[in-house]
C-alpha cells in the first residue's frame, strides 16, 4: 500500500524531472513528501527551478512558468498512468511563443498514445490539430459546430 504509493511517486518524479527540463530547456523539478516519516498521510510538495535561476518557493514563479510546470506534471502523470483521453481547456493561454512551441511538440508526442481534445485560441496549437472545429454563435445564444479544414482556416 505504502510501497505502491512510493513507487508511483518515484516513477512520476523521474518523468517530471525529465519533462520539466525539456519544456524549460534546462532546470530541475522534484516532488517532495512533506512528512517522510508518515508516507500514508504525507502531503506532496512541488519544487521547481527554471534554468539559471535559484531554487525558491514555487509561488514566486511567473504565470507562464507555473502553467508550464503544471503541464510538465500533467505529462509526467500521463506517462506513468495513461488515460484514454485528456480534455484541456485553454491551458496554453499564458505561454509565450517559445514555450508554446515546446508544449506543442510534447502534445504531438503524447498524442501517439493518448487522445487529446483541446480548446485553444493559439494559432500554433490549432495548426497541430488532426481535426479542427470552429464553434460559432451566428444566431445569438445558439452554438453551432463547423468543421474547419486546416489548410484553409482564416487568420
Amino acid at each position: 500500500m505504502e510501497k505502491k504509493f512510493l513507487q508511483a511517486l518515484q516513477a512520476i518524479e523521474k518523468n517530471f524531472l525529465e519533462i520539466f527540463a525539456q519544456l524549460f530547456g534546462g532546470g530541475q523539478a522534484f516532488l517532495k513528501l512533506t512528512d517522510p516519516d508518515n508516507v500514508l498521510e504525507s502531503g506532496i510538495e512541488i519544487i521547481a527551478q527554471p534554468p539559471g535561476k535559484k531554487l525558491q518557493n514555487i509561488s514566486l514563479l511567473s504565470g507562464g512558468e507555473k502553467a508550464l510546470t503544471a503541464i510538465a506534471l500533467l505529462f509526467a502523470v500521463l506517462q506513468y498512468k495513461p488515460v484514454p483521453f485528456c480534455v484541456l481547456d485553454e491551458i496554453d493561454s499564458s505561454l509565450d511563443d517559445s514555450n508554446l512551441s515546446r508544449y506543442i511538440r510534447f502534445l504531438k508526442r503524447y498524442a501517439a498514445g493518448t487522445q487529446f481534445i483541446v480548446i485553444t485560441h493559439r494559432r500554433k496549437t490549432m495548426e497541430e490539430a488532426d481535426v479542427l472545429y470552429g464553434i460559432t454563435m451566428e444566431e445569438q445564444g445558439i452554438s453551432k459546430v463547423v468543421s474547419l479544414n486546416l489548410n484553409q482556416k482564416a487568420g
Binding site: F5, Q7, A8, I12, T34, S42, G43, I44, E45, I46, A48, I58, S59, L61, K66, A67, I71, L73, L74, V77, L78, K81, P82, V83, P84, F85, C86, V87, D89, E90, I91, L107, K108, A111, A112, Q115, I117, V118, I119, T120, T125, M126, E128, A129, D130, V131, L132, Y133, G134, I135, T136, M137, E139, Q140, G141, I142, S143, K144, V145, L148
Partner: protein, 165 residues
C-alpha cells in the same frame, strides 16, 4: 479505447442536436468568447457523471438545460451522449462501440443509459473502472485551472498522485 464522438441536445448553449467526431490524435475547438467551447467540456464532464453544478459553472443543475434566448424558448431537458470505440480487434464488430447517455429534465429527474438501455450511474462507473475514464483529476483540465495543479496544497497534490498510483 478512445472517445469517438460527442452528441449534445439541449445542454447549455446547444439547443439543437449537435455532434462532434474526435480524432484519435489531437482534436482542437476554436471560436470567439462565449460561443460555447467550454460548454462542450462541461458536457463531457456532465455525461461522465459530474454531480456538482458548481464545477459546471452553474448554481443548480437546472442551469445546465438550454434556457432560451431573446428569440427562442427554453427547452425542458438536456441530453449528452459519449460514444467510445473499444478499439479491440478481438471483439465482434457490433460490440466495438459503447454509448453512454445522460439525460436530465427540468423537473429534476435524471436518467443514464448504456447503449440505449437504462442503467444506473454505478454501471457506467464500473464499466470504466480499469480504463481510467471518469473523473481523473488530471484527465480533464478546465479553463483557468492549469495553474491550480501547481498552486494546490500538499494534501491536494497527494490526491492527484493517489489517483494515478
Amino acid at each position: 479505447m478512445y472517445l469517438k464522438s460527442l452528441d449534445i441536445t439541449g445542454f447549455k448553449s446547444f439547443p439543437e442536436k449537435t455532434q462532434l467526431k474526435f480524432s484519435s490524435g489531437i482534436t482542437a475547438a476554436v471560436g470567439p468568447n462565449g460561443c460555447g467551447k467550454s460548454n462542450l467540456v462541461d458536457a463531457i464532464r456532465w455525461a461522465l457523471g459530474e454531480q456538482s453544478a458548481k464545477l459546471l459553472r452553474g448554481s443548480k443543475m437546472d442551469d445546465l438545460i438550454f434556457n432560451g434566448t431573446a428569440r427562442r424558448k427554453a427547452l425542458n431537458f438536456a441530453e449528452v451522449s459519449l460514444t467510445f470505440d473499444r478499439a479491440d480487434k478481438y471483439l465482434p464488430l457490433d460490440y466495438q462501440e459503447i454509448v453512454i447517455t445522460r439525460r436530465m429534465y427540468r423537473s429534476g429527474e435524471g436518467e443514464y443509459y448504456l447503449n440505449k438501455t437504462p442503467c444506473r450511474l454505478r454501471d457506467i462507473t464500473e464499466l470504466f473502472l480499469d480504463t481510467g475514464i471518469g473523473k481523473e483529476t488530471y484527465s480533464l483540465i478546465g479553463q483557468g485551472r492549469v495553474e491550480q495543479l501547481i498552486n494546490a496544497r500538499p494534501e491536494e497534490h497527494r490526491e492527484l498522485f493517489e489517483e494515478a498510483a
